[in-house]
Symmetry: C2
């Protein structure tokens, strides 16, 4: 079981920012990543549809013989986690709870959350943050253009700073002290977001805390891989061309071998 | 057969701009519209995946007893039309050829085309324009942010003008005299695009010429509905909330009844 891979899935390339952190943190592990690029994005779709897609993705990864599933997509983490945990015979870790924990650990008491429409409308971050820090006040904002801007490669484009200015203004008026990136695409926009919010607001993304949670769980369950060269396999549900081209900036490395599979 | 409906499909809301023109032009007809909102967008997906989705959508509409299918999606028109025509026992009209014909009818000889990545990469507009007007020179540009900007309701936002400026600059440098909207979302951005290109460039969208082609075909085949009150039915593959909210500005009318269906 220790030698089994860790499964990671996302609607597309965004989860590669989490994959990057997992590889850095757990260099001996084998990772199998699935991007559901034939049906991306999840952020504009309904909870029922996202849950169905997430179950199909998870079933594919379970069939690959994984020891743990990481849901590296905030929208799926926000709406599908209970059903995934019920249906799979595996530990399942989402990115939302680690993100919320990281925000609270920073000591923030006026916490802003940005994410897709699906994530924000679900109210899952608010619930998670309120249960961890009942004294904190939470403000949230959907930022639908952030994903297409990140995928367009306009991370440092003036347009991205303008869009960030517009989306974040209502949160800044609320005097937030912490801003949670509730979408795995947003770390690519960190510079534009930082220049919009100024130097004093704590920016939190869930990749590092998700990696910590995965490491802790592997350790406590005795599932950590032994010494050795880790490896990664990448699967997508549409042809790999665009995933390979766009994904490398999310992973921080070239994506050499990407295989198309049919799921669902 | 005359009383049968006209089927229209698109990946989501964009085709409602074509539906609007069809209703205006053919007020006695019954229309059945399907938006594949569970898998939208098509513009970033591969020809094989788009073709599969288009066949599933067309099969659903054929099952509703339609007399004619309008593919109100440029990406699907660009990549899936031959297979749709082969597999369906119905006349099939896409938006791409009518758009190309309208551009050529305007007398343009330096024609710019803007569209999704899928439409532009297919080269279908270039082929269609070259066959209609071998003397014309065609320049094209993918504009991936236009669809999310239109769906965000930022049609007249300064950011949209900045994005249009950046995407259209290479075409303006080529001294185009005509610009074809190779995506059914783009008519919503007409003002921002007009202010970017100035008053002298002919802007062509395929809705009107598609409606003309549909009317001509109904007439020549003796399929035109008799006098009477036309009506419309709207189906989507995800829950209707977002389609209803965003779609009304595309249709130019409220979307009261929208029904979710499962296809594929």
């Amino acid at each position: 079981m220790k030698q089994h891979a860790i499964g990671i899935f996302d609607s597309g390339v965004g989860g590669l920012t989490v994959c990057h952190e997992l590889i850095r943190r757990l260099p001996n592990e084998r990772f199998i990543y699935l991007g559901d690029t034939a049906r991306v994005p999840y952020g504009t779709k309904s909870p029922a549809t996202v849950t169905q897609y997430a179950l199909e993705a998870a079933t594919f990864l379970q069939g690959q013989g994984i020891k743990l599933l990481v849901v590296a997509c905030n929208t799926a983490s926000a709406v599908a986690l209970p059903e995934l945990r019920e249906k799979l015979k595996l530990p399942v870790i989402g990115v939302l709870e680690p993100g919320a924990r990281a925000a609270v650990a920073g000591g923030g008491c006026r916490i802003g959350v940005v994410g897709t429409e699906g994530t924000i409308n679900s109210g899952s971050y608010e619930r998670s943050l309120r249960s961890l820090a009942p004294e904190a006040t939470v403000f949230s904002a959907a930022c639908p253009l952030f994903v297409p801007l990140a995928e367009e490669g306009w991370a440092e484009h003036p347009v991205t700073r303008d869009v960030a200015g517009e989306y974040l203004a209502p949160l800044l008026r609320k005097k937030i002290d912490t801003l949670v990136f509730g979408c795995t695409h947003y770390p690519l926009l960190r510079k534009a977001i930082r220049s919009t919010v100024g130097p004093d607001i704590e920016l939190v993304d869930s990749a590092a805390s998700t990696a910590t949670e995965v490491a802790d769980l592997l350790y406590s369950e005795g599932l950590m891989a032994g010494e050795g060269e880790g490896e990664q396999q990448f699967f997508v549900t549409d042809v790999p061309t665009r995933f390979r081209r766009i994904g490398s900036s999310f992973l921080g490395a070239e994506l050499h071998v990407v295989t198309q599979v049919h799921i669902g």
